[in-house]
Every structure is written in structure tokens, then in C-alpha cells.
């Protein structure tokens, strides 16, 4: 197991546009790093550069203190699950899984043991004699995972390895991968579009957009302290609500004022900082759906709770199980979503008053879209 360092790695296809730009990241031994980002932001490209399948246009890749820009893929000792599976069509599932060991001349008995073991973990034992052509997408994907976990390489690279599985199987595989990571204390780099996978598996999340890293931090930090508007909107599902408005001075401190005139009281600790720099300037308020409350539980004696409410008309209501999603329409801010306990009353077209947990909201600079209170983060 090992440590990977990427220094200002760039990738340009066909001398036109950067697919990945200035990618700098240190991946410690045993870390489980998750790459997330919208489609086409360069996640697969980064993974392929680490694997050596794509030439690095500029920058440096260090694996275990060795500069690896020009090391052949076969000598990097990594293993990879490809986004399109890349199974060998002429071989059986068994041989597909055994391939990496077979070419290393591992004894047959040992191979057999490992293949059987992995196959039963993945639930594909009955498919071992089939050829990939006869498998469903999810089965192929499990074969691809199986092939990748045969060895103990320096790092596992997985490009959306669970994307084609059903919800139950996905949850099961998530647990297996997490266990594998613990058992081998393996370094893993993992691409996913699934929020749950990203939050539960990763020890570090790397959020990318247009080839740039937006933020790289622990799941908790990325969720609680997003670096900018994009990360805030991308992480968390359903995503954060944004309200445009401005900062206004009051006797006690400061208010955030929506265009409709509705004012929200800003807690003291942040009021002064905001007043200093953003007085009467445009800012964007970010509130996660779960930070709306139908009634107050915690009491802050200094807070004026009547000035921490938002009114809206219910447009849609969705049952999620233990909770309900409410979609509301506010006069100026437009539609926003709130996640409330399932027993909350309210029907479509009813007026509803919600408390905003102002201690957990985010303020973004309307121009740069940076989180005003973001103070760097660990890299």
C-alpha cells in the first residue's frame, strides 16, 4: 500500500481544451478518496492518468516517492475497475477474474481459492463458467470488481464500480468494499455519482468541476463547510436552497434581507464579519432542506425567533419514509425545499411558516461564489 501525490497535473486532449487542470492532491497510504463531480468534469481522465493509460500533459505523478509520469501501466502495480467494465470477451468469468494472477504465474490452487472466495462475496459463483457476453450489466460490473480485487496492488482505482447495481446489491457491495478497504488498509481512489457512497465510503472527497478541484476534504467538512456555491449545491441530496439578498445593519447586529423584504436575523458571531465586508452588498444565502424546522427545539436566549422564519405556499409534498419533502414557493426567492418530520401537517396550496436554523446556514459572495466563512481546509 502506498502514497500518491499529484502535483499540478494537467491533461489536454487534442491541444484544444483542458480536461483536467492544475490537479494537486496528496493521497496518504490507506486513504479512501472519492472523486465526485458532474459528468465530463475529468474524473475518469484523472483516474486514467494515474493508471498510466493517458499521458500526463504537464505536472507530476508520484507513487511511493517515485516519479511515475513515464512508468508503463503494467509496472505501476495498480488495479482498476473500468467505467465500461472492459471484460475480456473470449474468456470465461473465471478466467477474467484470474487473469491478473495467471499472468503472474501464481499457483493454480491459490488462484482458484481466491476466485471462489471473491465470487461468493460478489454473488457470482454460478456465473463462473459463462462468458461476459451472456451477462447483464450488473453482473458484468461485479465481475469487473472481482477481477480488480484479486491482487493487493499499491492502489485500487474504481470508476463508478456500483453504478449498474440495484439498490439492495449496491448497499451490500458498499459494505463489502468498505470492509475490503479496512482489511487490506488499501489506498483507494473511487469515482461515483452516488451521494451515499461518497459520504459513507470516503475518508476524503474531491469535488471537481470543469477539470478543476473545487474542494478536497473529509465528507463531514465538505458537507458542513463547502468551499463555494458549486460544492454546496453539488454535495447533499436534495441539494441546498439558495436565496439571493443583501446584508442590512440592525440595532442588534445584522439581517439578511430577501428581495421581498423578508428579513432573517443573522447570529451574532457572523453578523459583524458580514457587516464589515458585505454591508448592503449582494450575498447568497444557502440553507440545506434539513435545516428548516417546523417548530423550535433549541432555544438561544439572544435570538429573536420571530425574525428567523420564512413563509411559503406548499406546491408539492413527497413522502420519503421517515421524513417528508416539502416544496414551497416564496414570494421573491422562488421555490425551495424543506425536509421535515413525516407527521408535519400541511397540504398542497397551504401557507406554511418554517424556522430557519440560522446557525447552520451558509453565506456566499454573489460575485466570486466563494463561501464567505470558508477558511481553507486541509489538503
Amino acid at each position: 500500500m502506498s502514497e500518491l501525490i499529484l502535483k499540478n497535473v494537467c491533461k489536454m486532449y487534442d491541444k484544444k481544451q483542458y480536461a483536467v487542470r492544475d490537479f494537486s492532491l496528496k493521497i496518504e497510504d490507506g486513504e479512501f478518496v472519492i472523486f465526485v463531480g458532474p459528468s465530463g468534469c475529468g474524473k475518469s481522465t484523472t483516474l486514467r492518468m494515474i493508471a498510466g493509460l493517458e499521458e500526463i500533459t504537464s505536472g507530476e505523478l508520484w507513487i511511493d516517492k517515485q516519479l511515475c509520469n513515464y512508468v508503463e501501466p503494467k509496472d505501476r502495480d495498480l488495479s482498476m475497475v473500468f467505467q465500461n467494465y472492459a471484460l475480456y470477451p473470449q474468456m470465461t468469468v473465471y478466467d477474467n477474474m484470474a487473469f491478473a494472477l495467471q499472468i503472474r504465474k501464481v499457483p493454480k490452487k491459490e488462484i482458484d481459492k481466491k476466485v471462489q472466495e471473491a465470487a461468493s462475496v460478489l454473488g457470482i459463483r454460478h456465473l463462473l463458467k459463462q462468458r461476459p457476453g451472456a451477462l447483464s450489466g450488473g453482473q458484468k460490473q461485479r465481475v469487473a470488481i472481482g477481477s480488480a480485487i484479486m491482487r493487493e496492488p499499491k492502489a485500487f482505482l474504481m470508476d463508478e464500480p456500483l453504478s449498474n447495481l440495484d439498490a439492495k446489491l449496491r448497499a451490500q457491495m458498499r459494505v463489502e468494499l468498505s470492509e475490503l478497504h479496512k482489511r487490506l488498509s488499501a489506498t483507494m481512489i473511487y469515482v461515483t455519482h452516488d451521494q451515499t457512497e461518497a459520504m459513507t465510503l470516503g475518508t476524503k472527497i474531491v469535488v471537481m468541476k470543469d477539470g478543476f478541484i473545487q474542494q478536497a476534504d473529509t465528507p463531514k467538512a465538505v458537507y458542513e463547510h463547502p468551499a463555494n456555491l458549486f460544492v454546496a449545491g453539488f454535495i447533499g441530496s436534495p441539494s441546498m436552497n439558495f436565496f439571493e439578498g443583501s446584508i442590512r445593519k440592525t440595532d442588534k447586529g445584522a439581517d439578511f434581507v430577501l428581495e421581498s423584504g423578508t428579513a432573517l436575523e443573522i447570529p451574532e458571531d457572523r453578523a459583524f464579519a458580514l457587516l464589515n465586508e458585505y454591508r448592503n452588498k449582494k450575498v447568497i444565502l444557502g440553507v440545506r432542506p434539513e435545516h428548516f424546522l417546523s417548530e423550535i427545539t433549541a432555544k438561544d436566549p439572544k435570538a429573536d425567533y420571530t425574525k428567523r422564519v420564512l413563509n411559503g405556499v406548499i406546491t408539492t409534498r413527497e413522502m420519503l419514509g421517515a421524513e417528508s419533502m416539502f416544496y414551497l414557493e416564496e414570494a421573491s426567492a422562488g421555490e425551495f425545499a424543506a425536509r421535515l418530520p413525516v407527521e408535519t401537517k400541511g397540504r398542497t396550496r397551504d401557507e406554511m411558516t418554517l424556522f430557519v436554523d440560522m446557525d447552520r446556514v451558509h453565506f456566499f459572495d454573489a460575485e466570486t461564489e466563494h463561501n464567505i466563512f470558508y477558511r481553507g481546509g486541509q489538503q
Binding site: P73, K74, S79, F82, Y88, I103
Partner: protein
């Protein structure tokens, strides 16, 4: 009436086969039946059947040393040609499967033999192989009379034929390689496979369906080579390049033994058919699609 129409509906499919069947009948079935017919007769110089002899033409063949020599020469010739042409085609296709500057020039030259007439190539080879002015002897510093020496004559025509047939093989294999998904090579290299391992574990199995097809076509084609043998060696020296097809030609049009020639044609047909059947049997086991 209605019943009749119903009946004809099912049968009408056969009507569409008639044009094709007519062409086949005139150019394939008739000559084929006629050949079998002739092989049972002694003929006059114009090839008319004169005297029914039953299987005598065949028994004559089976006791003739010259015929066994023909068989042996043919076999050797076919093996060299098929192995040679498939190897050249395969190596060319693998070399040209990656893009590099000037690839067009190389692909064209590998595919070129396809466009050369066999007799034309034979004429050029005749000059190349000429013991006194030929470039082969000049370059290698050897002093061998390639075509006139029974030891080398067969190899020379076989190599020429292999090269001639390699063009189409190059095309087949290139198409086959194009069908192999590039990403499995990527996975193999991450898995740690060397170039040679990739070739034997991925490329060859990936080519196996087209390889089988090419093999069958090549064997049949090799059995039927004629032009280049006629021009380069005329079956000689001695009988060293007297393959069956050439022997048929010689018996029919020089010795006017049409009966014997017809019998040899039938034997050749049987051999090719048997081989093809065997290969299709083997295919069921060996070829993975």
C-alpha cells in the same frame, strides 16, 4: 382454387431461387456432373467420351507413382502457402493496428499483393530468382539456380503464392483487429500483462473467428493455385512442382487424357470437401465468438 393459392404461397419462395439456381446449374452443376461422367470414360483428343471404363481411371491413378508425388507436392505446397500467407497477413495487420506516421504507405503495401495478377508476379519473380542477373543471388551472394533446382523450386513458388495470398489476409486480419475492443488492452496493461501476453491471451482469441474463416479460404485457394506455377516452373524441374491442379491441366491439354484429368479433379474435390468438413467440425470446439 383457394387451396391452390395457399399452397403456392409457401412454395413461391422457391421461385426466387430460380435465377441463382440457373447460373449455378450452367456454370457449376453441369461441369461438375460432366467431370464425374468423363472420369468414367476414355476420351478422344477433343475430350469426347469414347469408351466406358468404369473405375479404371481411378485405379490407374492410385497405382501411379506420379499421382502420389503430385499429392505429396500439393500437400507440402499448401502447408507452406497457408502458414506463410497467414503469418505475413497477421504480422502486417498487427504492425499496422496502431496509428503511426506513414501508416497508409505501410497498409497499402501490405494489401498490395491482392491487386497483383499472379502471372504478373510470377514474371517478376522469374527475374528476381534468375541465377545470373537476379537480385536475390546478387544480394545474398549465393549462387543458386532457384527455379531449376528441384530442392528449391517448390519453396520458391510456394513463397510467391504465400505472398500473393497474404494481401487479402492482411485485410481480413486488420478488420478482425479493428473489432477487438481497445479497452481490454488497457485493462490488461493495468493488470500487468506484457505485450506478448496480450497478443496470445487477447489478440489471438479475439481473431479466432476470422482466423478460422481465413484458414478455410486460404486452404482452398492454395489447392487451386495455378497461374504462377505454370509461368514460373511449369510443374518442373522433373515433377517437383507438379501439384494436382497443374497435373490435371497437363493431362488434359497436353496428354489429351481427359478421363484421367477428370478423375484427378474428382479426387481433388473430395480432398477439399473432406478438409472443409473436418475444419467445420473442429471450429465448433475451438473457435470462440
Amino acid at each position: 382454387m383457394k387451396q391452390f393459392v395457399e399452397k403456392m404461397k409457401g412454395k413461391s419462395a422457391y421461385a426466387y431461387l430460380i435465377p441463382c439456381f440457373l447460373v449455378f446449374a450452367v456454370f457449376l452443376f453441369y461441369p461438375f456432373v460432366k467431370t464425374i461422367y468423363l472420369s468414367l470414360y476414355k476420351t478422344d483428343k477433343l475430350g469426347q467420351a469414347k469408351l466406358f471404363v468404369g473405375l479404371e481411371n481411378y485405379t490407374d491413378l492410385l497405382t501411379s507413382e506420379s499421382f502420389y508425388n503430385s499429392l505429396f507436392v500439393t500437400l507440402l505446397f499448401v502447408v507452406i502457402v497457408v502458414v506463410g500467407s497467414m503469418l505475413i497477413g497477421l504480422i502486417g495487420a498487427v504492425l499496422c493496428s496502431k496509428a503511426f506516421p506513414g501508416i497508409r504507405v505501410f497498409s497499402t503495401s501490405y494489401a498490395l499483393p491482392m491487386a497483383i495478377a499472379s502471372s504478373g508476379a510470377a514474371m517478376i519473380f522469374k527475374i528476381i530468382l534468375n541465377p545470373t542477373i537476379g537480385i536475390l543471388n546478387k544480394l545474398t551472394g549465393l549462387d543458386i539456380n532457384w527455379i531449376a533446382d528441384p530442392k528449391y523450386a517448390l519453396i520458391c513458388v510456394a513463397v510467391l503464392t504465400a505472398w500473393l495470398n497474404s494481401g487479402i489476409n492482411f485485410l481480413y486480419f486488420s478488420a478482425g483487429l479493428g473489432n477487438i475492443d481497445e479497452s481490454i488492452y488497457e485493462r490488461a496493461s493495468v493488470d500487468g500483462a506484457t505485450g506478448i501476453q496480450k497478443f496470445f491471451r487477447l489478440t489471438l482469441p479475439g481473431l479466432s473467428p476470422i482466423m478460422f474463416y481465413t484458414l478455410v479460404v486460404n486452404i482452398i485457394q492454395a489447392f487451386q493455385s495455378f497461374g504462377q506455377i505454370k509461368i514460373l516452373t511449369s510443374g518442373g524441374p522433373g515433377e517437383s512442382t507438379n501439384v494436382i491442379v497443374y497435373s490435371i491441366y497437363r493431362d488434359a491439354f497436353f496428354n489429351y487424357k481427359f478421363g484421367s484429368a477428370a478423375a484427378q479433379s474428382v479426387v481433388l474435390f473430395l480432398i477439399i470437401m473432406a478438409l472443409t468438413l473436418v475444419m467445420f467440425k473442429v471450429e465448433k470446439k475451438g473457435v470462440k465468438y
